[in-house]
Amino acid sequence: MADSSASTAHGHSAGGHDSTGTTRRDLLDLVAGAGGAMLAGGIAVALIGSMNPAADVLAVSSVEIDLSPIAVGSGITVMWQGKPIFVRHRTEKEITEARDVNLSDLRDPQTDASRVKAGHDQWIILIGICTHLGCIPLGNKPTDMRGEWGGWFCPCHGSQYDTSGRIRKGPAPLDLALPPYAFESDTRIKIG
């Protein structure tokens, strides 16, 4: 139409006339598009970022546990950051069995020494979540099944852990995880 071509032709400067070259409109499209993308990106960062754990959740939670009531050969379960933690006072037999292991037999090889604190090997402290699909293994109560290695037995799919919490049999791929903890005294630990 004569009118529209007349009105769009005026106002073009460098690079505007040939349709093969880059026009000012291309630059404007690029700048506008980039600006819009930055805005969208900023919005996404704020929205999705808001779904990350809030400051009160992140605030380091620690649990202090008095070990003196835990008799030899028994264990307790405590909560830490929403997870069950097994705290077990191992017998001499359990310690020996944990040490006496050929590392090549283990699916996830770790020495017992690396899983306890030096000088406190009678205490094994583990995150009580089966590394298969997340059930809580049995073994802390005296009436619980312990499996063939006398450690823990997961009732969901039959994973069996030894007295050091290492996976020996069943579908779990990894040893039971260790929480961060430290001995404040011989009878007191702080987890986290």
Partner: protein, 411 residues
Amino acid sequence: MAGLHKSDLPNPVLNWIDSRLPIITMMQKEYGVFPTPRNFNYFWNFGALAMVTLVLMIVTGIFLAMNYQPNTGLAFDSVQHIMRDVNYGWLLRYVHQNGASMFFIVTYIHIFRGMYYGSYKAPRELLWILGVVILLLMMATAFMGYVLPWGQMSYWGATVITNLFSAFPGVGKYIVTLLWGGFSVDQPTLNRFFSLHYLLPFVLIGVVFLHVAALHIVGSNNPLGIEPGGPQDTLPFHPYYTAKDSVGICVFLIVWAAFVFFAPNLLGDPNNFIEANPLQTPADIVPEWYFLPYYAILRSVPNKLLGVCMMFGSLLVLLILPWLDTSRVRSCRFRPTYKWFLFAWVISFAVLGYCGMNKPEGIFVILSRVATLYYYAFFLVITPILGKLERPLPLPVSITQSVTGRPLESH
């Protein structure tokens, strides 16, 4: 194959989708080539700005709802949790809180545009009515949203406004009990307000869809108030009005951001930083600024029921405006007398807002009565009479001639 839409899209994947659900063709038609009057001024940006605001309010609202607790013992603290602990929580909250104000600013300007340029007149009556419905839904949503933080003003504002319904004779008391779900504003009220506050914006989306659909049947009005005579009077919506709307949106977001980052509590009430106390009424109960004119109308008369009726009436009278206006001329550009009465109406709305901010004592009583009187007189007396009596200015021959100064060249 029978039933498939004949799609013209070159891309085979898009063509497959479009032939089964022609949303791409629809978008191209309604927002691509849609013939739009070429002479829009910036007043025509405000509908798009309202849509952008609605989307942003829904998005921020959804993420706020992930952390908000609709329990009277936890609500206030959950908002503080959002402000202090949740990542970017402060940003979500301030965007949402100031977005409510922005929503009303753009909507009031959008309504003014409709009134000044006669966009409510035939054949756009239903478009206008849908707009009034949108305004009512916005007000309900905003009212309930303000209750959620459970501050002093949240609680007492809710108490005052829900108590209004007791004015209705006979059934009033039962209506209020039904609204409350109890014998005062309390847990059941908060819970249902949260549910409805989440719901209504999606109802709003539906009504906005109808509003835009109705618009696309009759086409947009324009500052001259005369119908486009042909394609020479229009431009395709894209790229002309997508570009212009983008500019408008940028400016709008700058204004919104100025509030969010530099004055986030400027439009708010300090009383809402105090947790709700059912046993202590604040010295002044005042709604948010966008409700102040209606609050003033409510308090302008000493009779409770009459005040309620006048307040609701002030919104309902908008619905019949297309039939009150007897003028054959749409745009106030060509109505030299009427436009001053319209400006006076805008001033009366602002005066009512100012009265609403203050206690109904002294000068504010007389001021709110005069302003309320003019508010109603404008619609019920001036608009019908002036439409018949006024001598309008001569209308332009065509949009193109008015815009280019040249008569249309013959093809």
